[in-house]
Symmetry: C2
Subunit: 315 residues, 2 copies
């Protein structure tokens, strides 16, 4: 069984994988086109993986290094009966720490544009009242899976109140209150911050659009650490300009890489990071802890043990 990996596993990790019967690991740097038809397992999606899948191949298992898998050719993989596992769970706390950082950035007046201007720097003090405590601020978190739970846990640790939003409003760990997606749109709760951590599906495509922003009972700060296309960017910019949003932090974008001429660069009260929020310390170790048991199980039974994606549902 031939494993193609784009993840930089250590020599020891490669040896452990190859201690499984018949397993042979090919690092992406060592790949040659003639190997394409004999790859059985792909670790981490890449343009090369897409190329292999598009040609004659015998790929039967793909392990991604991301929690979201919307960028995969899901229908084709389903038809080809490829098993897919996501890497959900490993990015949760990293994303949660970044969300807390974004919230404190706004609440504590950190690197306000005025703070970067020598001429106006001290005058910023007259705006001291823009600083506020985050204790008891209300945060609406869209998505109550691994990532949403990790965010809720972190925010509650320092005294914020969270409400989870999921498809049916079912209870979820780390949330004392949850509401249904549809309810949140017709009867939006008062929120100081709204965080999107939803997977990208047909139901969440452009969910955060003009009507959503227009119906907020007070202008919240909107944070997107889910997927870019869940947000209508044009509507977001308009909401920032007309005050329906008090601010926004985006780590993901409708178009990635974000073009240098995107109108987002001119939007007010907007903080942007280049899809880095989920960056995990020692990510290879975290991925190995998911991939190894999955590969072991796949070799023995042809099935996966954790994080299998339902290709029809898309998550």
């Amino acid at each position: 069984m031939n494993i193609l990996t784009a993840t930089h596993f250590s020599t020891a990790q490669i040896s452990q994988l190859e201690s499984l019967p018949d397993v042979h690991v090919i690092r992406q740097n060592d790949f040659q086109p003639k190997l394409a038809p004999i790859i059985d397992v792909i670790m981490a999606w890449s343009p090369l993986a897409a190329k292999i899948l598009a040609g004659p191949n015998r790929v039967k298992f793909i392990q991604t290094s991301s929690a979201g898998i919307d960028y995969l050719p899901l229908a084709a993989l389903d038809q080809q009966k490829v098993l897919v596992a996501h890497a959900g769970g490993i990015h949760g706390d990293a994303i949660a720490q970044s969300v807390l950082g974004y919230i404190l950035y706004f609440a504590r007046y950190i690197t306000h544009p005025q703070n970067r201007n020598p001429q106006n720097f001290w005058q910023g003090r007259i705006q001291r009242r823009v600083l506020y405590s985050v204790v008891n601020k209300r945060v609406l978190i869209y998505g109550t899976g691994h990532v949403g739970q990790a965010i809720s846990q972190r925010l509650r640790q320092i005294g914020l109140q969270t409400i989870g939003v999921n498809h049916s409003g079912h209870p979820a760990p780390e949330f004392t209150e949850t509401i249904a997606l549809a309810t949140s749109k017709v009867q939006p709760p008062v929120a100081d911050f709204i965080v999107n951590a939803l997977p990208l599906t047909n139901a969440t495509q452009h969910f955060f659009a003009a009507d959503f922003f227009a119906h907020q009972p007070q202008p919240p700060i909107f944070i997107n650490v889910g997927r870019g296309p869940s947000v209508d960017t044009t509507a977001l910019i308009a909401a920032l300009k007309n005050g329906q949003l008090a601010g926004a932090a985006l780590d993901v974008f409708e178009q990635e890489p974000l073009p240098a001429d995107s109108p987002l660069w001119q939007a007010p009260n907007l903080l942007m990071t280049p899809h880095t929020t989920g960056t995990v310390d020692h990510v290879e170790d975290a991925l190995f802890a998911i991939f190894y048991p999955n590969l072991q199980s796949f070799c023995q039974t042809g099935k996966l043990s954790v994080n299998q994606v339902d290709l029809k549902l898309g998550y």
Copy 2:
């Protein structure tokens, strides 16, 4: 007894103060020069307060609105037997939230300069490894009073490890480990972040200078939320440039307001806020909760009940 207040107490609060026997409150806006000799109590230091103290006066009690009182004419007040109370305790959590914000700003790559440049924005992703989890990062906190304790409490809530530094290394609430100021200079512990929350005294003037930065076992990120003159600014800039410091966040400065031509504006990896970190929501209520019992006690017994400053020690 005539109280001059620069704090914007509400009408209800003024009434409550004036319900004390013989108390009459004069708002700073209503002050007239002829009242200077008959002011007994000053609530919040101001240029006007300095002027009153410099002339013939009968002031006997000053309540500040700040935790630090180094800006007061301490020797003159001591000689004139004026009682002074600080506002320590009310700013602690506000400062702690900002310190957490500064730490996450550096750890989570938030508004890295590259993130503000449309041309290089996405290339910042190659530096994803500069992001790290703050869990188990070590923070050396100078000052284990109200503010240091509040900072330690917040940081430990999200999994950072803290070490307190005070004059003798005595134990302090919210710290599991404390060391003496002198020890910290000759045997500096390994720290990812160093936070200054010390009062400004002769012992802390330029404590953070070239020798301090040069002897760190690894380059920490330095955060000053104490007083500007505790830091030798020239040495700090040099340490940022030569890599002895990995970064710095300053809320206070040797010279305030910070001049537009300060060399700090050209220093690398430096985040600055205009002495705003201690901003408290509803600060008048927080100050009233200290001033009212102190005034009550002063009226009844001539003594203060909380936060009295030792004018000889300077804190």
